[in-house]
């Protein structure tokens, strides 16, 4: 039976509860004695807090307590830390301003929490929050990242508002490449700031049992163990073994629920301090203000080419906005998840990148689907396409000339990574075919005859996923190892409970991981149950982000399942009175090699728990095996995305005519789920290209703070996507998987913008390509002026 489930579009085990309204998200949980919290937030981007007056709020109906930043300071709570140390060019450590759980004397971004009101009902908590009088003295805010290093200093210990000035690559070799070039293409661009917008707002429910001194925190997290670690080791609200963190059903994350925020931390602290059970659920406005935002880069790049289009060197200078504080992984995003990807799929021999990360009075910026890799891909794929246009080369042909060949792996890039495998030509070829690339000019002419502008754009992306080999991550500054844990627990009746440190919030782990283990053990998938998201049930886990769940978490389960088989062989050998070497596992049967005798998996499971004649010195009872899998390298999913657009020059409206995505994710367990991940990623990537942008005004007010002003992709914004796959299995993990969660968001924005740029005759606009921007660009097109 082994091999019968891998690669099958098994329908999802988790879906029945979701389609029938039986999902259990944090806000759905009702407990006896529940109280409710509301946060008081700064209406200013930057202000001094002169005083708090909570007397009116305390006197309001239903109010139980009001806690402010002053109590947080009094209780000596630690700040919220950033888990990745980056060193500047000069070797100095990045600068990390204190990030208080609740601000006491200075607020640094709009919406920063300063106090917490707890009341019997949600309405009473919200009403009383309005009565907390905070005397703010507004200060001038620094909003624009591009000029932040010349602006007023926000933190004494952070000169020029610079978190770090980082570099990677060989500057001299890159300059030499530029000097020797026959052609140099330059590009300036902005990677627009985004708001993640998981449809379930963040929420937390903290309960404290004074009898056991235990806090149980339910929260919307992609990695509950990390929540526990940070709250206990850094913020120090409780000892680690007295805090249990549960991430129940979580309604989407996209990165924004990786991080440890003020709200759930304050709730856990308050629950213990006051002996209460407290719930808080963000309203959408709070999500807009305080979920960590994504992207927000300003970059300049130069690509040096030889006369025949060979890439000689790439030089990049980027300013990355960190927002007001360093969020949990913020510092890694524009550095090791960005600079290291600037080789793309190409043999560019010399690359040099400088990244200045700056603080501004805006919400913290951290990983959002793709995290650094979309920014790298956007830059590389825009400049490559621009170079092709400038040199009069077909953009597909220019890429082909520079691809790392399929026989050149493993390939060491000049920016630290070693790609293990890939076949870029195969993806490109397939995508061009699916998009009818060769006949595009006929479609363009036909559109032109109708007065429309057509363009087609390519993007050949690469990403580094499967975060991450702990040794490498540690050497680069990560505060934790990035392995994953898994346990395959065989129950006495032969069903299996699988425990994983990964967390599913839409990815379908309950199905994919069950498929993987059921396949390995030869069991029906119904007999395998996946458990995740509870520090009370699992040893430790590092959660889900960076397209790591299957490549790292799945690999841990694969190793654990192998261990179960090994133990099963020992048990079978004992039962069959033979040597272990004489037992073969032909899933789901343990067979004697030299006879017809065998034991089923169920017999072995039962025997593992009820047998009374074990040679106890050689064989422990039970059949449950754990594995901690630490990857040897990153994985490198790659592919080609092609977008064809049509622009109505009268309105500037961009219509996506077709979108083709061909991806190489290595071995695929469940193609249906993988395609779904691609669709979702594409919607977010195309959303970034056409619709989405977080805008702060000059004073730091967020003016895209609701769904009326922040344009979310909706069903009628897209055509059906055409999705194809190629496969070069990952060479260094036992599953062969590379990860698929982020590819859509990484590959698609440059494909869309390259198509628009082509349709506009080379006029460059920044994302999002709103109809207004496109229309204004059309007005400057020479062809139209003369028409």
């Amino acid at each position: 039976m082994s091999g019968s489930l891998i690669g099958k579009s098994v329908l999802r085990k988790e879906d029945h509860r979701f389609v029938s309204g039986k999902g259990r998200y944090t806000d759905d949980i009702q407990l006896v004695g529940l109280t409710y919290a509301a946060f008081v937030r700064s209406p200013y981007a930057r202000a001094d807090i002169k005083s708090f007056d909570v007397s009116d709020a305390l006197a309001a109906p239903g109010v139980i307590a009001v806690l402010t930043g002053e109590e947080v300071a009094k209780d000596g709570l630690g700040g919220l830390p950033c888990g990745w140390m980056i060193h500047s060019k000069d070797g100095s450590e990045m600068r990390q301003p204190h990030h208080p759980v609740l601000a006491a004397d200075r607020v640094n971004y709009l919406g920063e929490p300063v106090a917490l009101v707890i009341a019997d009902t949600q309405l009473e908590a919200k009403n009383a929050a309005e009565l907390v009088m905070v005397d703010f003295e507004p200060l001038t805010a620094v909003v624009n990242p591009a000029t932040a290093s010349q602006a007023e200093t926000l933190y004494e210990a952070v000169p020029n508002n610079l978190c770090y000035e980082w570099e990677l690559g060989d500057e001299a070799a890159t300059e030499a490449g530029l000097a020797a070039a026959a052609h140099v293409t330059t590009l300036k661009l902005t990677n627009n700031r985004l708001i993640p917008n998981a449809i379930e707002p963040r929420a937390a429910l903290a309960e404290y049992n004074s009898g056991t001194d235990e806090i149980i925190l339910h929260t919307t997290s992609q990695n509950p163990h990390l929540v526990r670690l940070i709250m206990t080791a850094f913020v120090q609200i409780a000892p680690e073994h007295k805090l249990r963190v549960i991430a129940p059903d979580v309604g989407g994350g996209f990165g924004s629920k990786i991080f440890i925020y003020s709200e759930e931390t304050a709730l856990a602290w308050a629950a213990k301090k006051l002996g209460l059970t407290i719930k808080w659920t963000a309203d959408r406005s709070e999500s807009f203000l305080t979920d960590a935002h994504g992207r927000d880069h300003v970059s300049e790049a130069q690509l040096a080419l030889s006369a025949d289009g060979e890439f000689l060197a790439l030089k990049v200078k980027t300013v990355a906005n960190m927002g007001a504080y360093l969020s949990t992984f913020a510092s890694a995003v524009p550095t090791y998840l960005y600079g290291t990807l600037l080789a793309g799929q190409y043999r560019t021999p010399a690359i040099y990148v400088e990244v200045d990360s700056v603080f501004t009075n805006t919400a913290p910026v951290d990983a959002y689907r793709g995290a650094g890799r979309p920014e790298a891909t956007y830059l590389v794929e825009r400049i490559v396409e621009k170079a092709a246009a400038e040199m009069g080369l077909d953009p597909a042909e220019l890429r082909r000339r520079n691809f790392i060949g399929r026989d050149q792996f493993p390939y060491q890039t000049p920016v630290a990574l070693e790609y293990d495998t890939g076949d870029y030509e195969a993806s490109l070829h397939k995508a061009l075919k699916m998009a009818d690339y060769n006949t595009f000019s006929a479609r363009q002419a036909e559109a032109e005859a109708r007065g429309k502008l057509r363009g087609i754009g390519l993007s050949c992306y690469i990403e580094a996923c499967g975060l991450a080999p702990s040794q490498v991550a540690g050497a680069l500054g990560a505060g934790v190892g990035l392995w994953e844990s898994g346990e395959v627990r065989v129950n006495p009746t032969g069903s299996v409970t699988v425990l994983t440190g990964s967390h599913s919030h839409g990815q379908g782990h309950e199905t994919t991981f069950a498929q993987l283990v059921a396949d390995r053990l030869g069991l029906p998938i119904e007999d395998v149950e996946v458990v995740h998201g509870d520090t009370g049930k699992l040893d430790f886990g590092l959660g889900t982000y960076g397209s790591r769940s299957l490549a790292v978490g799945g690999s841990a389960l694969s190793v654990a399942a192998d261990k179960v088989v090994e133990k099963g062989r020992k048990i079978a050998a004992h039962l069959l009175r033979t040597d272990v070497d004489n037992i073969d596992f032909d899933a789901p049967v343990f067979k004697m090699i030299d006879s017809n005798e065998s034991k089923t998996f169920q017999e072995i499971a039962f025997a593992a728990y009820v047998n009374h004649d074990y040679p106890s010195e050689e064989l422990e009872p039970g059949l449950a095996e754990k594995a901690f899998y630490d990857p040897l390298n990153f994985t490198y999913p790659a592919g080609t995305h092609i977008c064809e657009v049509e622009i109505d020059p009268d309105t500037g409206v961009v219509e996506i005519i077709q979108f083709v995505a061909v991806d190489d994710f290595g071995t695929i367990i469940n193609p249906m789920i993988v395609e779904g991940q691609v669709h979702g990623g594409l919607a977010q990537g195309i959303g970034q290209a056409l619709l989405e942008q977080a805008v702060y005004d000059d004073t730091g007010q967020l003016i895209t703070g609701s769904y009326m002003d922040y344009c979310m992709p909706r069903a009628d914004n897209f055509p059906d996507f055409k999705v194809g796959m190629t496969c070069t299995p990952c060479t260094h993990n036992p599953v062969g998987a590379k990860g698929c969660g982020e590819a859509g968001a990484i590959g698609s924005p440059p494909a869309v913008m390259n198509a628009i740029t082509q349709a506009l005759g080379g006029i460059e606009i920044d994302m999002p390509a709103t109809s207004e921007k496109v229309w204004r660009a059309v007005q400057t097109m020479p062809a139209l002026k003369t028409a």
């Binding site: 309204g21 979702g680 769904y707 909706r714």
Partner: protein, 158 residues
């Protein structure tokens, strides 16, 4: 406190609520029908969509007292006596959901579209669902699910 009577998922209920309580608050907090979700505060996302007297309604923007005397169906009551409504089956069969948070509202909107004869082709479905935001699926499999669910609903009623 106001007293209202609602028929919810086939069962008559008498409820006491504040005059400013929204219908979704009453459903979630008093009746523990937590399948109806709250995703925004501006009636934009559709996660709270239910049926009131046969029409799809965003329950975050309706006062509970305004619904006095109404017949309400939530995701929990959609399947009536069966295990699953055809639209629920279609969402499962077509992988029309990922995190599941928008799904109840999406299904309730989809059923309404079919009932009103507006789920005739993919373009109509995309337009008809533009009041429901999904951040996970890119909508493609939702559209496929609604097409399949629509044809199964039509078969069932014929």
């Amino acid at each position: 406190m106001e007293t209202i009577e609602l028929k919810i998922n086939g069962r008559k209920r008498t409820l006491h609520c504040l005059p400013n309580a929204t219908l979704v608050e009453v459903l979630r907090d008093q009746l523990h029908l937590t399948g109806t979700h709250i995703g925004c505060d501006t009636t934009q996302c559709g996660a709270c969509t239910i049926h009131v007297d046969g029409d799809a309604v965003k329950a975050c923007t309706v006062l509970a007292v305004r619904s006095d005397g109404s017949e309400i169906t939530t995701i929990e009551g959609l399947a009536e006596n069966e295990a699953s409504h055809p639209m629920q089956k279609a969402f499962k069969a077509c992988h029309g959901l990922q995190c599941g948070f928008c799904t109840p509202g999406m299904i309730m909107s989809a059923v309404d579209l079919v009932n009103k004869g507006c789920a005739v082709d993919p373009a109509a479905i995309r337009e008809g669902l533009s009041g429901n935001i999904c951040r996970c699926t890119g909508y493609q499999n939702i559209v496929a699910a609604v097409l399949q669910g629509a044809s199964e609903m039509q078969e069932q009623s014929s």
